[in-house]
Symmetry: C2
Subunit: 263 residues, 2 copies
Amino acid sequence: MKRSCLLLVMLVTMPLIPNPARAKVVTQSVEYRQEGTVCQGWLSYDDAVKGRRPAVLLIHDWMGVSDHQKSQVEALAALGYVALAADMYGKGVRPANAQEASAEAGKYYKDPALLRARARAGFDELASLPQTDPERMAVTGYCFGGRCALELARSGAPLRAVVTFHGSLAASAPADKEHFHAKVLALHGADDPFVKQEEVKGFMDEMRAAGVDWQLVQYSGAVHAFTDPRAGNDNSKGTAYNAAADRRSWRAMRDFLEETLAK
Amino acid sequence: MKRSCLLLVMLVTMPLIPNPARAKVVTQSVEYRQEGTVCQGWLSYDDAVKGRRPAVLLIHDWMGVSDHQKSQVEALAALGYVALAADMYGKGVRPANAQEASAEAGKYYKDPALLRARARAGFDELASLPQTDPERMAVTGYCFGGRCALELARSGAPLRAVVTFHGSLAASAPADKEHFHAKVLALHGADDPFVKQEEVKGFMDEMRAAGVDWQLVQYSGAVHAFTDPRAGNDNSKGTAYNAAADRRSWRAMRDFLEETLAK
């Protein structure tokens, strides 16, 4: 009798109740290559889940890979995705301050072909993993990483979704219908002094012209880097954390990935 | 044995699984007054829930109250809110076509004081109900109703939240810090030819100047009336249903109401 009861409970509850106790998120440092460059990122996934699942490539802001991206991919893994924090700069290239970051990011802004190839290497690494369902892949990017995420989609990568957080929205070459496969969600601080409203308008025009399925969310009182607690809280500096915009944008991303990465 | 199994299943599942079988959404026609004018709207709530709960006032598009608003308040009631579809025009005033609707809505656009008073009467009716927690109230509005929803907040109504769907975003008099208490979520079709991007920009500037907590979402490929299946599917007419934007905007509203109407 007890066994039959237990079975009944399991049958009734299994499809409806997630069991966080069984989740086992593991995170590891991974290396991969783009031609001669070794890249070092973070990979995270739930080891209690078997089989292929939707995958998210996460691209860092101009400061490069750090522990911040580790916690971000872990949060994505907790949602059920296999997530790779890509390394755009190459192993060991970790800017120590804004000046170094600007110089490093500048190399890629100036060389869009390199930027696209480097982003693609991260995409290919993630697509090749045994946990990944390569038919269900998305990319998210922050600031500089937002530009990389969009450039990856513009280059024709078989992505279902792109999410940018306070991303640079300008294009090295405009999206075109033939190559751009992803749906796009751009999450933007309405007072961002680095990605101004003119750039936002240019992005909307670009996406419209290419027939992309896109959405844009503007958050009041939010400036650049609004998801990053390391940015402090002084809006007048142009970069600052904004707890409401951080929470809301994460929720918007969750809803969007749920929609676009469903089977 | 069967009874003990059932009990066990219930004990295990009750706190985690909502029980739609217990929900009892009731909808009724209600009348209320604004000075000499009798208004007739729809009220909907879950009768299986006891006590006061958060409340949503819903304001119709320029066609006035119809069965469309009935299904909308029922959907809100299913989410746990007590919802009232306000009647801006007065009992029996139901435009039969766009020409009549334009004339009727025009009366209120031209008389902002009347518009605000009429919207306030719906708000007061909802606030007075035994099901309503008057500390947790929101307003949602569609097209013309979006304008009414914002005007209600601009007039100083004690609202926690305003949601507009393809709403008219211009103001009869700009919001000011002292009177505007609500957080705002504006859900907009990026190709809306009636609420153009210049009006969207004016709205952002107005909200910014008044220090409002606001968000704006733009949906690609969506024109005016994108939530309304009655609008057909020909974007070139300027009004058309858009299933993706309808689904996404409803989800955004759900997230926002969950956040703003929480205890």
